[in-house]
Amino acid sequence: MSDASLNTQDFSNDASFGDFFALLKPRVMSLVVFTAFVGLLVAPTSVHPVVGFASILFIAIGGGASGALNMWWEADVDAVMKRTQGRPIPSGKVTPGEAKAFGITLAAMAVVMLGLAANLAAAGILAFTIFFYVVVYTMGLKRVTPQNIVIGGAAGAFPPMIGWAVATGGVSIESVLMFSIIFMWTPPHFWALALFMNDDYTKAGIPMLPVVRGRRSTRNHILVYTLLLAPVAIGAAFTSIGGPVYLTAAVALNLWFIAGAVNIWRRDEDAAIADKYRAERKFFRVSLLYLFLHFGALLAEGVLRSFGIGGW
């Protein structure tokens, strides 16, 4: 081997620390952290702050690990879609093998550490969440059924339930309701996105609802899920985690969300194309606020309760 041959390798695409961090889908992780934190804080029992912090961190790492495994499996699709072309694997910075090893290692570490830091129930739900998101959703159903978002939504809905389990060591109606809010919210949120990002999904061959059933059917689905979401979200107000603050917020937010869904339902394609999907884009933005404010209101109730003034 000559000296010259040493420098023939191209290192211009070497991954940086940030590329590995990007594999964890930081934006999704922030939602996981927030909802898990709320789940932990509104629980009737408290944990040591260090235990709480570590538990949230391991839940976030577990969520991030499933994101990395999702990117490993979806690399071919990500390379086709405009929204995902810049991700570390399609851009050639991280190899699929590296992402897979990274994801599996972090997932195992997160589950074991959560079990040690908190309890086996929380670790068990985290393990199930990772399995559900990676194997059931990403590998199994995402490319098979137009109801993929409904199934995928379940994986994203588990974090508050895990947070609750960290504090209480189990599952109860309150944590099931927090799960249900995110589970029912996910389909209208993503279908609104799919309405104006349809071309990307068509190109990638993912059977999103607008691709398979058409946009009319998607608009109907958005309305139905939004109507079904309202009683679940408002119902949580009458459990031990609810109170007047949450009830007021939930009623106002659900009326706002339903009004948006009705607006989308009444529009036809011509109107949507004419204003470049303005209503759909607005509904998507409102949906983000909707979820954030619901959990924010639950958090507010929890904090008020700790001062003896929240709740019923």
């Binding site: 290192f11 940086s16 620390f17 040591h48 260090v50 235990v51």
Partner: protein
């Protein structure tokens, strides 16, 4: 092309190694903190492994 002592690649790798190093350090600190917190709250540190020993046998009832 002049031979540069510090190639851009070296800088990137240094940053990556530094990131991994700091992450591991933070992990060690976290596990240490967790241990202290668990001992402070008096959590059970030993579970029953089916071999009798003083620390897991019930206390004798006092008269």
């Amino acid at each position: 092309m002049a031979i540069a002592k510090e190639h851009e690649m070296h800088k990137r790798r240094f940053n990556r190694n530094m990131g991994v190093g700091l992450t591991l350090l933070a992990f060690v600190a976290l596990v240490y903190g967790l241990t202290v917190a668990k001992m402070q709250t008096g959590d059970m540190m030993e579970a029953n492994d089916h071999s009798p020993r003083v620390s897991v046998t019930p206390a004798e009832p006092t008269e």
